[in-house]
């Protein structure tokens, strides 16, 4: 598979179809890191294996503007896993990336691992093919997971007091470092509500009310936009179970509006649209 990727990347760079190819390379201490390949001779740095967890879609934001003033923005090639392709569809819908300027190399995927442990989100992942790509690499994979929202349902089964206690305990560990927001491909506002000073939305204290506000606000802003790539949870230094929040919303959005994030680049997210005749439990 990796040979196919390298050949394709070389071909794209040599033909000038892309100026930069975003993929994965060997990092330090046996880990993988994102690679930005500008020269065809560097394509041998590219790798692809089950350690490649990162959602590369987030790096497309930095290619929206030209590298030098007066130039066109660069043409980019990018590797996407099936889960990342959902982020890509959302960004395409929100006109954050220009489909003409991005060449998408899709990967089939059987799940990725962190510390030799297959990720939980991969066990729940129901798809193995990207939803959007120009060129597909890989065979049809075997394993397909199943999303049953068991952990979300367990929390839903608690009483309001228990849930509040659970979330207060979790949110209180937050240090408001905003790593989750920085890692999120769907969080790209120039000025985040969390840091807005006029009006002072969230407040600048690092205290429980601010932490609660931040996480609920972020979860809500990602409603129908979160692709479930779990980059936020991986980035969190204190290990908050952010996927529990995001997946709850994904579940409700699907139940209420019959919408799943990033199926295509045309359908607007549920909170950006409405139907006149619909029965919603309020």
């Amino acid at each position: 598979m990796i040979e196919q990727i390298r050949v394709k990347a070389r071909e794209l760079l040599e033909s000038g179809q892309v100026n930069c190819f975003i993929g994965y390379e060997e990092g330090t201490r046996g880990r993988v890191r994102p690679a930005f390949i500008y020269e065809p001779d560097d394509v041998d740095r590219l790798i692809w294996d089950e350690r490649c967890t990162y959602n590369l879609a987030i790096y497309l934001h930095q290619f929206k503007s030209p590298l030098k003033r007066g130039e066109e923005p660069p043409l980019v090639g990018i590797l996407v896993k099936p889960c990342d392709s959902r982020s890509l569809n959302i960004l395409l819908h929100e006109e954050q990336i220009d489909r003409e300027r991005v060449y998408i190399v899709g990967l089939t995927c059987e799940g990725v691992k962190v510390d030799d442990q297959i990720q939980e989100r991969c066990l729940r992942c129901e798809e193995r093919f990207p939803l959007v790509y120009d060129f597909l690499v890989g065979e049809e994979p075997k394993a397909v997971g199943k999303e049953d929202y068991a952990d979300v349902a367990r929390l839903e089964g608690m009483s309001a007091q228990e849930r509040l206690a659970f979330w207060v305990r979790e949110f209180d560990r937050c240090i408001l470092c905003y790593a989750c927001r920085q890692a999120c491909p769907a969080c790209y506002c120039f000025e985040c509500v969390a840091e807005q000073l006029d009006p002072l939305w969230m407040g600048i204290a690092i205290a429980l009310p601010q932490k609660q506000f931040f996480h609920i606000m972020r979860a809500y802003h990602l409603a129908g936009r979160c692709s479930g790539c779990n980059a936020c949870e991986e980035a969190c230094p204190v290990g908050l179970p952010l996927s529990l929040l995001n997946r709850k919303i994904a579940k409700e959005v699907e139940a209420l509006f019959g919408y799943r994030t990033g199926e295509d680049a045309e359908t607007p997210p549920p909170l950006a649209t409405f139907k006149k005749e619909e029965e919603l439990p309020l």
Binding site: L155, Q212, A223, P270
Partner: protein
């Protein structure tokens, strides 16, 4: 539960239907609980869910969002957007431990002064039953 607990309720009232509705209740001299603090907004679609979050963050015990009946929005579609937002917000708040009885979304027209009073009375009783919102406390 404390019996003399008087909840603090923030109400976001749409300028075209619910606020005149509340006005009608006032000019008709109908008494309703003083627990409600009304904030007038141009439309229920203006009520960003962050307003609700902020109200809870600042210590409100309950929040009501009142708008025009669906189809009657002065801006044609504001309340349809509000309906979607709060259907989801309700469930999210419930999930993080804010009882769903603390958030009320209702439609009140400018002629429904009596209904407005009923809603405020019911909602106040409902929130009083739940007691103060304890989300800022760490056990």
């Amino acid at each position: 539960m404390m019996t003399d607990f008087e909840p603090r309720i923030i109400g976001f009232l749409c300028r075209w239907c619910s606020y005149p509705g509340a006005d009608l209740a006032g000019t008709s001299r109908i008494i309703y609980p003083p627990s409600l603090r009304i904030i007038r907004v141009p439309c229920s679609g203006r009520v960003d869910p962050l307003f609700v979050l902020k109200a809870f963050q600042e210590g409100a015990d309950g929040v009501m969002v009142l708008g025009c009946h669906p189809g009657d929005c002065h801006y044609l579609e504001g309340n349809y957007h509000a309906r979607r937002r709060y259907a989801l917000m309700h469930r999210l708040l419930e999930y993080v431990g804010v009882e769903k009885e603390r958030l009320l979304i209702e439609w009140v027209s400018s002629a429904e002064g009596g209904r407005f009073v009923e809603l405020v009375k019911e909602f106040t009783a409902q929130v009083r039953e739940l007691g103060p919102w304890g989300g800022r406390r760490i056990d």
